[in-house]
Symmetry: C2
DNA sequence: CCGACTATTTGCAAGTTACACCTAGCATTA
DNA sequence: TAATGCTAGGTGTAACTTGCAAATAGTCGG
């Protein structure tokens, strides 16, 4: 799904979350937070800030941003108006509704739980990765245990 | 995407991560960890343990588990053999390869980074949710305001 | 034989993502 | 004037994951 990002192939110390695939971008809370923080934003603004706020290294795709904004508006979480008061193309400016504020509070609770679980998972992965690494001068696991019955198309 | 889970509508204090949608299950690291921890597992075993290890409350769907196992095998992260030594239907038993061990180490690094980012996001969401909650007897945001010209030079 | 449990696999609808591409306003430069 | 580049919003599509349901099988108890 994610095929590259600004970090791709740059050797920034450790594998990139984008190369691992399978990570959501948490676009909704990131964007709700951006709107709540500024009171009023347009999509392009979010796209420029999102790189720093995003959970993974890929930032948020502009397509995702604009579609998420429309989805949030359809759900009543934000309302928008067109701002033509400044030069340049018109901007669609968004503000949170009370429902959107409530949604952000819900996200805060959910994220707290998810973060805790993820922290535990991370800890366990690190422990497992380390415990085997010490005993890994030889192949960590006897690969090739009579794999005999591997019929089934094998993917 | 996720429509229910065992927690659905049970009022366990706070909204369920499943109701928020948009959360990946981190199936791959959870499963790699399960395999690494036991040395040898089959899919059904993972399905039964996964509820406790999963990052969200939904656990891991058995379809996801079996498909992920095949994908991991196709990528050389695990190898399988059929175990018919015990009564009941044959079980496909998986062990990690050295490449799979390496993948787990990579996941450990990625998860560490993601956890840190997620923690920051969580913290910011909580702060935003709280700071406005105190001032939210009246509608949280006057919709349509032109707030103090958040001019965000942006570049 | 029938159901219950174990165990694996597949089909499908729904949803998200990454990328490419498009429209359009305005400013600078040749 | 034309070309170029930045700002700003939007759409189309392929690839992928997920959740749920259903199919297939082996074994055991009644």
């Amino acid at each position: 799904m994610p095929r590259r990002c600004h970090r791709y192939g740059q050797g920034n110390g450790g594998p990139c979350s984008c190369e691992m695939g399978n990570l959501y971008r948490f676009a909704e809370p990131v964007m709700l937070l951006a709107i709540a923080g500024r009171g009023e934003v347009h999509g392009y603004q979010i796209a420029q800030e999102a790189e720093g706020m995003a959970v993974t290294h890929a930032g948020l795709d502009s397509g995702v941003i604009y579609r998420t904004l429309r989805r949030l508006e359809a759900a009543g979480r934000v309302v928008s108006r067109w701002d033509t008061s400044r030069p340049g193309p018109a901007r669609r400016v968004y503000v949170l509704t009370e429902s959107g504020m409530q949604h952000l509070r819900e996200w805060a609770q959910v994220l707290e739980a998810v973060t805790a679980s993820l922290q535990a998972l991370t800890h366990n992965c690190q422990k497992a990765a380390q415990s085997r690494r010490s005993a890994a001068t030889r192949p960590a696991l006897p690969v090739g245990v009579s794999t005999s019955r591997n019929r089934m198309g094998a993917g």
